[in-house]
């Protein structure tokens, strides 16, 4: 076991930890998006879903601490490796031309930092209710917290819509490279499946972003009130 641990001390091993924690976070954003789509079923469904999650504090906090740990490992090791990678080429090229690196793969650091800033904002905004305390203590007709009302209130504000859409651009870009890249880093490769594996990232990224954007725009365009 100690040797397995020492394996993760190398750059290739750290990449594996980044990939695994990243995939864990991907699973979260997918379910987060799916859960939130219940907005389209109306206030009753969304508020009951929120109450359902809050009714299991042990599970909720285990999940939250797990996500936090994954994010800390993911970001910490990514920063560490990025610094090391920069040092691997102290003098750069006068001209450097990319041959096939995708835009998403070249902007991982920027999209990742965008995501981190957005995540902080999102948690302070909709989870903790610090940025906009309206509706935080509001209860709906059944006595559940009125998450629906809060979301609808938030996305009727054009500034919030812009911030959330920008966050989704970061998320989409990051996932486009991240998922297929993680599969490669975890050493999964198959000649017959290579196209499918390469399409994994962009497709999952697109689905998550479309689902999230649909929520924001549906409220903003007053399709959901």
């Amino acid at each position: 076991m100690i040797r397995l641990f020492s394996h993760f001390q190398s750059s290739a091993g750290k990449k594996m930890v980044i990939a695994l924690t990243g995939l864990g976070l991907v699973v979260f954003v997918v379910f987060h998006m799916l859960g939130n789509l219940q907005l389209f079923q109306g206030a009753h469904a969304l508020n009951r879903y929120a109450a359902f999650l809050r009714d299991m504090p042990i599970l909720l906090w285990t999940a939250r601490i797990g996500l936090l740990c994954m994010a800390v490992f993911h970001i910490g090791l990514a920063v560490q490796l990025s610094v090391r990678n920069r040092r691997a080429r102290p003098v750069g090229y006068l001209i450097h031309r990319y041959r096939q690196a995708s835009i998403a793969s070249r902007t991982m650091a920027i999209s990742g930092m965008t995501l981190l800033v957005f995540l902080g904002f999102h948690l302070l905004h909709l989870t903790a209710g610090v940025i906009d305390p309206a509706f935080s203590d509001h209860l709906d007709a059944e006595g559940h917290r009125d998450v629906y009302g809060k979301v609808v209130h938030a996305f009727q504000n054009p500034f919030m819509v812009i911030i959330y859409l920008a966050g989704q651009v970061g998320l989409g870009l990051h996932l486009t490279h991240a998922i297929s890249s993680s599969v490669q880093t975890m050493g999964f490769e198959h000649a017959g499946l290579s196209r499918l594996l390469k399409a994994f990232g962009p497709v999952i990224g697109l689905i998550v972003v479309l689902g999230n954007v649909a929520i924001v725009l549906a409220v903003f365009l007053r399709i959901v009130r």
Binding site: S10, N85, A88, E189
Partner: protein, 262 residues
């Protein structure tokens, strides 16, 4: 044909370098890139100046000596060839061409366009071999190896160790090189007994030499003169993960025979 060349000149490993512009006259379209540089050097020698140092040997794309970044791309604009196989007809007459050495912390510049690539040799010393004596060539069909395996091993073994993958990678990572060597030997029965120790030792050596890690951009694959696929990097990661699991179940050994010779 005429060209304006912007070439990196550096007197020695610790001297500061700079770009110097030279004119290349009377270049025939059929000349290789290195022959064009030979012409430039002839002219410099005639004028009593120091010729541009660049590495070359076989000039037929198999030795892996030539190592120029031409207009921002290692081995130049064509795919699947080394610098010596690049012909001047590939460029427009009168074009400006920028020539730089491989740039990486692990490849210190010795002079002008010549870099020290012994880092790759030290990675090989760490585990890129098999310890048992295999004797002479065996009779056909004594050691049965499936066609798929034989071809995969051959694809990986075609690596000539030129270091273009390191030069092209934004992280100056040698992952494609290590991947090719590890995959080559892990695919064949002769390489199997040492596969766990090999992959760990070679990746550790890669880190020690100061190469970066992989960002899965596959720029290495695009510039590789031997078209080595980035799927070998997935294979390397697989081997490494496998080694971590297999080795963790083994009793600790005294001294690794793969310890890097100093």
């Amino acid at each position: 044909m005429k060209f304006t060349l912007k070439i990196w000149r550096q007197e020695g490993p610790h001297e500061p370098g700079r770009f110097v512009t030279y004119e290349a006259h009377e270049v025939s379209p059929g000349m290789s890139f290195l022959e064009m540089l030979d012409g430039v050097n002839q002219r410099l020698l005639g004028k009593g100046e120091e010729p541009v140092a660049f590495e070359q040997d076989c000039r037929e794309g198999i030795c892996g000596s030539c190592s120029l970044v031409i207009n921002g791309i290692p081995h130049g604009p064509d795919q699947g060839i080394t610098t010596c196989q690049l012909y001047m007809r590939r460029f427009c007459d009168g074009a400006d061409i920028t020539i730089e050495p491989w740039r990486a912390k692990a490849f210190p510049i010795l002079k002008d366009l010549v870099v020290d690539r012994r880092g790759l040799d030290r990675i090989m010393q760490a585990g890129g071999y098999i310890s048992v004596n295999t004797g002479g060539a065996v009779d056909g069909n004594v050691l049965l190896i499936g066609k798929d395996q034989a071809e995969a091993a051959m694809d990986a073994a075609s690596c000539i160790g030129c270091g273009a993958c390191v030069a092209a990678c934004k992280n100056a990572s040698a992952m494609l090189f290590v991947a090719a060597k590890v995959s080559h030997m892990a695919t064949l029965p002769q390489g199997r007994p040492e596969r766990e120790r090999r992959v760990s030792a070679m990746l550790e050596a890669m880190d020690r030499e100061g190469f970066g890690s992989c960002s899965n951009q596959y720029e290495c694959e695009a510039v590789c003169p031997k078209h080595i696929s980035a799927r070998f990097i997935a294979n390397l990661n697989h081997e490494y993960l496998r080694a971590g699991i297999v080795e963790s179940g083994r009793p600790s050994e005294p001294e690794s025979p793969h310890a890097e010779s100093s």
